[in-house]
């Protein structure tokens, strides 16, 4: 095992106050000094879909995550650039062998004392201690909890024994004292810290979880700047200010500035845009393509855009004909004009994909050549592969207007390369099942990272250990790629890891189990009076509102 001291012995301590965004505006006098922002106001956000489950251990869709991020806290945070930062752990230490993680917890962090408009919580607003974390990790990994993301930490010592009922507790997670939490791993796993930033691994108050049981997702209680207030299913969800929130601004004033948040379901994107223009929302989830240029013109300073850690691609089942031939897969990659389609159909709201990893992700290789639009070369490759007359293939995509338009554009472009593309749209649930079962041979998929590490792309989606529902829907297998992505999980030297992932990505691009299409862009349209907002590269749904304020 390669061990690099500089990485392992680092004790990371950040001054949280320094992370708070400095915002101009009319300050108010408060006991703590001059506040950076104005207090008061409700942030009204139009969302397209109602959250499904607000228990962080079950929240794995963006609509639920958006709310979970306002209610709960993880040990480590992921900042807007995708970097790991302290959160409820103010620092951590990793043993030389990379197996023992010791977290120094922040003192004075309290669970919500009241909820749902004043009702006392079962925990009574007590402080979070290491014991809470121990219980939380046991709860997440308990087979009866059925958390679909528990396996993200299956390298924690005693995970299998606990899951199989051989032990009563998860042996690897222990409290050394009230503020020292220790996690031991069975084997080294370099992205472990990143994984702990995923919303599933948020601290939970045992008393409230036990009080509500399976309904905890309908009555969430956490530690974050906002408390759950009310939820009319399918309509609106209201959060109120947590007066005991642990973070304060740089002048020592309590946060958050906002009195609360109100998320309202507006399914229709035209109506989202209309209501925003009428001033009925501080923000809307999506600016639809027809209104994009108007939004840029009308709100030049409050329409935020940046590359997002996500990739849009078409997967090919490499065991099915004609995709079992590498040259065919390469030909397909040469047959489309990515930039043309992005400009024409997406208003330029994406970056053409040269490979798997999106810009901004650790390990992203800006020098990767990727595939250009070259129908002549595509034809030649098809001929070399034994298809001089061209091929006829069928794309399955989930029913959606944008997916349809893109696929139709590719259909036209591919004709020039001798590829007859038939389009078959399916309902999302049906396509999803077909993909997981390996029944889909050529399918559309979008992937946005769960944790900011190339492991979540390359290992999860293309390593042969993950065939089927674990993520490798293309059934791609390359021993060298597997070796690199396996070893990179254990490697602790960042530079060596970067090299391994770039090499693995180069192999994947060469083998082309995907038609690499584009990397997503994340956007957030706000009213000009919204201040202190930062758009995270992880996607607008992960934005935190503890220091957002309204200048009106």
């Amino acid at each position: 095992m390669i061990v690099k001291k500089p990485f392992l012995f680092v004790v990371i301590t950040f001054v949280l106050a320094g992370m708070l965004a400095g915002c101009a505006g009319t300050p108010v006098e408060t006991p703590g000094g001059q506040a950076e922002g104005k207090y008061g106001g409700t942030f009204r956000l139009a969302i397209t879909e109602s959250p499904k489950n607000l228990n962080p251990v079950h929240a794995n869709d963006t609509s639920s995550m958006r709310v979970v991020y306002q209610l709960f806290d993880t040990l480590v945070g992921i900042d807007s650039e995708g970097e790991l930062v302290p959160n409820l752990a103010e620092s951590w230490d990793i043993s030389e062998d990379g197996l023992v993680y010791t977290f120094k917890l922040k003192e004075g962090v309290k669970f919500h004392a009241t909820t749902e408009g004043g009702m006392e919580t079962a925990n009574g607003g007590r402080e979070v201690t290491a014991e809470n974390w121990v219980w939380t990790f046991n709860y997440i990994t308990d087979p009866d909890t059925n958390s679909a993301r528990a396996y993200f930490i299956d390298m924690v010592k005693g995970y299998d024994d606990y899951r199989e009922g051989k032990t009563d507790t998860l042996a690897g997670v222990t409290a050394k004292d009230d503020y020292i939490l220790q996690i031991e791993l069975e084997h080294n796993f370099a992205p472990f810290i990143s994984v702990l930033g995923y919303n599933t691994f948020s601290v939970l108050p045992r008393e409230d979880v036990e009080k509500w049981g399976k309904d905890f997702g309908l009555h969430p209680v956490g530690t974050s700047p906002f408390k759950f207030s009310e939820w009319t299913q399918g309509d609106r969800l209201v959060l109120s200010r947590n007066e005991n929130y642990w973070r304060s601004d740089s002048s020592g004033n309590s946060l958050p500035y906002l009195d609360g948040m109100e998320l309202k379901v507006i399914n229709d994107l035209t109506m989202q845009w209309t209501e925003f223009n009428l001033g009925n929302f501080e923000a809307i989830e999506v600016v639809d393509d027809p209104y994009y240029h108007e939004a840029l013109e009308k709100y030049p300073d409050s329409f935020f855009r940046r590359p997002m850690m996500g990739t849009y691609f078409y997967g090919m089942n490499v065991t099915a004909k004609p995709f079992d031939n590498k040259k065919v897969r390469q030909a397909i990659n040469y047959s489309i004009d990515r930039q043309g389609v992005i400009d024409l159909l997406r208003n330029g709201r994406a970056t053409p994909a040269k490979g798997v990893l999106p810009p901004g992700m650790f390990g992203y290789n800006p020098d990767l050549e990727g595939y250009t639009y070259d129908p002549v070369k595509a034809k030649q490759l098809l001929a070399e592969a034994g298809y001089p007359e061209g091929i006829s293939i069928t794309l399955q995509y989930n029913t959606d207007d944008i997916h349809k338009r893109i696929a139709e554009a590719f259909q036209q472009q591919m004709k020039e390369a001798g590829i007859e593309l038939e389009l078959k749209h399916m309902e999302g649930a049906a396509l999803f099942e077909a993909m997981q079962k390996g029944d889909a041979t050529f399918f559309r998929l979008g992937w946005v990272v769960d944790y900011p590490d190339p492991d979540n792309f390359l290992y999860v989606l293309l390593n042969s250990a993950n065939f089927g529902p674990l993520g490798n829907f293309t059934l791609y297998r390359n021993p060298e790629f597997d070796r690199l992505t396996n070893e990179a999980r254990l490697e602790t030297d960042p530079e060596e890891r970067r090299r391994m992932y770039q090499e693995a990505e180069r192999i994947a691009v060469e083998d082309a189990p995907w038609l690499f299409v584009y990397h997503y862009t994340t956007e957030q349209l706000l009213q000009p009076y919204v201040k202190g907002y930062t758009l995270p590269s992880f996607g607008e749904h992960t934005a935190k509102f503890y220091d957002v304020w309204l200048d009106k």
Binding site: K52, N53, D268, E433, W447
Partner: protein
């Protein structure tokens, strides 16, 4: 009448059972596994299996069906796969909004449709008649999403009188635009139906007699003619209302109203089988009830129709 009603209710039982069976089978064979959807894009097979067990999807189909059927008899429709809430509660909290929409839209359709139809028939070939017919044609031809857009543009964006989406602050104003949008089509249909019915009735001998007797115009048109033209209108209005009770998906979606229509759509996309089954059961019951009620109103319009008794005129 009571015997007729009981007979009709008993006859509805096999219909409802049939609907339950068909929906159960359809939801069971439709592609898309609820457990996989709950687990998310990637999950370990062990967890997917556990979720399947928790939802009871691993049990034989006949066992699931008998359980569901027993549940129906005890008003227990199971729990939603998505958030574990009782299906009856999930549906009942969405139903009042849809009921308000359906009843208001039907009322609007009947009032405007009958009024326009009567005026068109009485003033046949006049400007009023032509105008009414054009309006009716427009109402039938225009899709509801377009009407929705237009009324939002006018009342919400230009005039700023009425909110465009959501349920407001508990008032009734938010219902105005959806009700106009939803009521437009049945109103147009009822206008045409009333007009043609009235034209036919106005030609009848007994109407000529009424005129000859010197009855006032209002009594002839409303008291004698309209009453006889109302049976098909009542049938259409009833069917429209029953359909809307099942959920006006497009309108609820466009105006972001959390009614049963949107609930159904959400449930289908998430493969939330208990909610889908509960909703179809509700729809079947509503159809049976509304059809029965409509049939029971016929004697009000035509006393010759008498359930469970002898006909007055042979």
């Amino acid at each position: 009448m009571a015997i007729y009603t009981i007979k009709r209710l008993l006859a509805a039982v096999p219909v409802v059972i049939g609907v339950i069976a068909v929906v159960f089978i359809l939801t069971s064979i439709v592609p898309g596994d609820p457990a996989r959807l709950i687990a998310g894009k990637t999950a370990d097979p062990e967890t997917i299996q556990r979720i399947r067990e928790e939802l009871g999807l691993n049990r034989p189909l006949w066992e699931q069906f008998t359980d569901f059927f027993k549940g129906v008899l005890t008003f227990d429709l199971g729990r939603s796969y998505r958030n574990n809430r009782p299906v009856t509660q999930v549906i009942m909290e969405r139903l009042p909004l849809t009921a308000k929409l359906a009843v208001s839209s039907t009322a609007l359709a009947v009032v405007t449709g009958v009024s326009l139809g009567v005026v068109s028939a009485v003033k046949k070939d006049s400007m009023l008649d032509h105008g009414g017919r054009v309006l009716a044609l427009l109402g039938i031809s225009a899709p509801s999403f377009w009407i929705g857009l237009m009324v939002v543009l006018l009342f919400c964006v230009k005039l700023r009188w009425i909110p465009g989406t959501g349920t407001g602050d508990g008032g009734w104003l938010y219902l105005v635009l959806p009700v106009i949008t939803l009521g437009m089509r049945p109103a147009a249909f009822i206008t045409r139906l009333t007009r043609s019915g009235m034209l036919e009735v106005l030609e009848q001998d007994y109407i000529q007699t009424a005129w000859a007797k010197g009855l006032p115009g209002r009594a002839v048109v409303l008291g004698h003619a309209l009453k006889n033209a109302m049976i098909p209108v009542a049938t259409v209005a009833g069917t429209c209302m029953a359909e809307m009770m099942g959920g006006a998906i497009v309108v609820e979606q466009f105006f972001s109203l959390p009614g049963v229509g949107r609930l159904g759509l959400e449930a289908i996309l998430a493969r939330d089988f208990p909610v889908i089954r509960g909703q179809v059961l509700l729809l079947a019951l509503v159809f049976v009830a509304v059809n029965l009620l409509v049939d029971l109103t016929y004697p009000l319009f035509d006393p010759r129709i008498k359930y469970g008794g002898k006909r007055r005129h042979e």
